[in-house]
């Protein structure tokens, strides 16, 4: 089992004809993902290494039965691309693109909830999602993930997601699904969405969470864990020593006015019973202990 995507997921790539879209689309197909279509209104009727290209997501869905989309087009077009995908009939949208304006994200979040309540957006500015052995959508290197579970991963950071997968693989621990929610101010999918899905997934027995400074998503996640989660959680929060007011790469990773500090987030998580590591390796070791205790 897995959350959000599995071996039945059929994916259309918006931007498959671009260099990034083509590169990762084909890598994802090589991994075993059902990459069924691409879109580009100017290249409809052509194909990318055998993958048919349609003018719109709606056509791709009608022709191929695509259930998910993956967006690799430049930031100015992402707002419209997400809405096109939702109108086109897919239920899961992964937006990899970084640099999408915050107002576009805020508008998308509220518009989807109102007009397309059954559609889930992951990202923008995220590495994507992988259910190892079944489906890999985005830019995660599939071979660093060990299939099978029992651990689910949810992360705000790209490279630290890979680090987490790798640490678990080195210890022989598999992963049900690894979700990169991205570091932007208004992600389509939150920690809580993923924690709730992992809690409901029978194959997932424990969850590893990678947070970052800025905002209050980790604090909200801690509250959810305390109130609603029975499964053990380990966590790491990056940016313990980040100076206030400095933007650390991601649009979201900024500490302002003493709020959103890593210390506050780690305290909240610890209070919720989460085993917090001071670096990714330590969080991985905590998870190894948790998995050993599962028996």
């Amino acid at each position: 089992m897995s959350i959000f995507v599995d071996s039945d997921t059929k994916v259309v790539y918006q931007g498959l004809t671009g260099s990034q879209g083509r590169y990762y689309g084909l890598l994802n197909r090589d991994y075993g993902t059902q990459v069924v279509a691409g879109t580009n209104p100017r290249k409809a009727g052509t194909d990318v290494d055998g993958i048919p290209v349609y003018a719109t997501v709606a056509e791709a869905v009608a022709e191929t039965g695509a259930t998910a989309s993956c967006i690799f087009i430049p930031a100015p077009g992402v707002h419209e691309a997400v809405l096109e995908a939702a109108r086109g009939g897919v239920e899961f949208i992964v937006a990899i693109t970084e640099g999408v304006p915050a107002h576009d994200e805020a508008d998308l979040y509220n518009r989807l909830r109102r007009d397309f309540p059954d559609v889930r957006l992951l990202g923008p500015n995220c590495p994507g999602i992988i259910s190892p052995g079944q489906c890999n959508i985005g830019i995660t290197a599939g071979h660093i993930a060990l299939p099978g579970g029992p651990v689910g991963i949810v992360s705000r950071s790209g490279t630290l997601t890979y680090q987490a997968l790798f640490e678990l693989k080195e210890k022989g621990i598999g992963c049900t699904t690894c979700v990169g929610i991205g570091g932007d101010p208004v992600p389509g999918t939150s920690f809580i969405d993923c924690l709730a899905a992992f809690e409901a997934d029978p194959e997932t027995k424990a969850v590893m969470m990678i947070g970052e400074i800025g905002g209050s998503a980790e604090e909200e996640a801690a509250e959810f864990i305390a109130d609603h989660m029975t499964k053990p959680v380990s966590a790491y929060v990056a940016g313990v020593t980040a100076p206030p007011g400095k933007k650390m790469g991601h649009a979201g990773a900024i500490v302002s006015g003493g709020r959103g500090t890593a210390a506050a987030k780690m305290d909240a998580l610890r209070a919720a019973g989460v085993r917090v590591g001071l670096n990714p390796t330590e969080a991985g070791e905590h998870m190894a202990d948790i998995v050993a205790d599962l028996g």
Partner: protein, 389 residues
């Protein structure tokens, strides 16, 4: 992108908000000439990307041209929390009956825009929030709906502003919201928003932060990018398109991915070291990007050692290793380097690095060990320097 006050006022004026006539001045002579054109009395206001200007003596009332000369001379060059004043805004002084506060920003946990209005303006809103939270009227706005007049009116009523201020404030809040949305701002703040004795609502200060990601639909924002406060290192990194933040330690940091770079900074601190910077070179790690990153770090005189922390995902270990070797052939690096290479094909990558290793190019198996080595190297470099001195 943080705007100076005067840029914020010019930004607001585009959306029809009332601001005072004023001019920017870079010298005492320019300040005097500006005041002569505007007519006294004027305010002389330091333009810096930080708060607390008034307390630091950076905002002065000038009744006469002689006052302008004196205040401009004192304020230009003034150090306000590490920001040296290079320009002053000369603005026609306003009569004030009352001071209010108004702002819009994104509430990330509500995923809605948050408007705040208070009849207690002129002081820091954090202070009002602590001491008298009920004095702040908050409104959460769904971006799909926007802020219509009825909602603005209800909000102003909740803010308990006096009758004389209501119409003007309802109008200006809608304009401020339009500026916030259409202008792609992360924050717009007017503090104080004033009521004049003759009953006008007027913008007396402006704090604006624009979303750097939205520049593609605002070509004119390039001018604001030029006035961002960056130290020399940050300017050099920005020119190379690198994500760099200057810190004040001695270990230079290069990592791929913002999270890993932050984590690297954390681990260095944990083992008793002090990072000189945060530098994210992004997903790939080819020779060109690596060389640019090394150049930026090498130009920082405080750097005593360098920690390169790369996790190969799609980018394989061999490519990373070749990138590092290629960069080192292009750039002469003074400080010793410690590399930690993990992830995809890390072993192959390490094998490529192996023959190049020396006292000044070391490799460590884990992030923690690499951090310890880099910190030790930085410490011994400092000891050597002291000995030479």
């Amino acid at each position: 992108m943080d705007l100076f006050e005067y840029q914020g006022k010019q930004f607001f004026a585009r959306y029809g908000m009332p601001v005072s006539p004023g001019e920017i001045a870079f010298s005492v002579e320019e300040a005097v000439a500006a005041a002569e054109r505007i007519g006294t009395p004027v305010m002389v206001k330091a333009q810096v990307h930080t708060g607390g200007r008034g307390k630091a003596g950076g905002v002065k009332f000038a009744a006469t041209i002689d006052d302008v000369r004196e205040h401009a001379a004192n304020i230009l060059g003034l150090d306000i929390s590490g920001h040296v004043v290079g320009r002053v805004w000369i603005e026609l002084a306003s009569d004030i009956a009352e001071e209010y506060y108004a702002s819009f920003t994104l509430d990330r946990s509500a995923r809605k825009h948050l408007g705040m209005l208070s009849a207690e303006g002129g002081v820091e809103i954090e202070t009002v929030a602590d001491e008298n939270p009920d004095a702040i009227a908050k409104v959460w706005i769904d971006p799909v709906d926007g802020l219509d007049e009825a909602a603005a009116r209800a909000w102003v009523a909740a803010g308990n502003l006096p009758e004389a201020a209501v119409e003007g404030t309802v109008d200006i809040l809608q304009k401020l919201y339009t500026a916030y949305v259409d202008g792609d701002a992360d924050l717009v703040e007017i503090n104080p928003l004033i009521l004049t004795p003759d009953g006008r609502i007027h913008v007396l200060d402006a704090k604006v932060t624009l979303d750097g990601s939205a520049v593609f639909r605002h070509e004119d924002y390039a001018v604001f990018d030029e006035t961002q406060t960056r130290d020399e290192r940050e300017t050099a990194a920005h020119a190379r398109g690198l994500q760099y933040v200057g810190l004040d330690g001695s270990v230079g940091v290069i990592a791929n991915g913002a999270g890993l770079a932050m984590s690297t900074v954390d681990v260095l601190n944990q083992v008793g070291g002090s990072p000189a910077n945060f530098l994210d070179i992004g997903g790939g790690a080819n020779a060109e990007v690596m060389a640019g990153a090394l150049e930026v770090i090498n130009n920082d005189p405080a750097v005593r050692s360098i920690f390169i922390n790369i996790f190969g995902g799609i980018t394989r270990g061999e490519e990373v290793a070749n990138g590092i070797i290629g960069a080192l052939e292009r750039v002469r690096i003074d400080a010793p380097i410690v590399i930690r290479l993990d992830g995809t094909n890390a072993e192959e990558g390490r094998a490529i690095l192996e023959p190049h290793l020396s006292d000044t190019l070391q490799m460590a198996p884990t992030m923690l060990e690499a951090a310890r080595q880099a910190v030790e190297l930085a410490a011994s470099a400092r000891t050597d320097e002291n000995r030479e001195a």
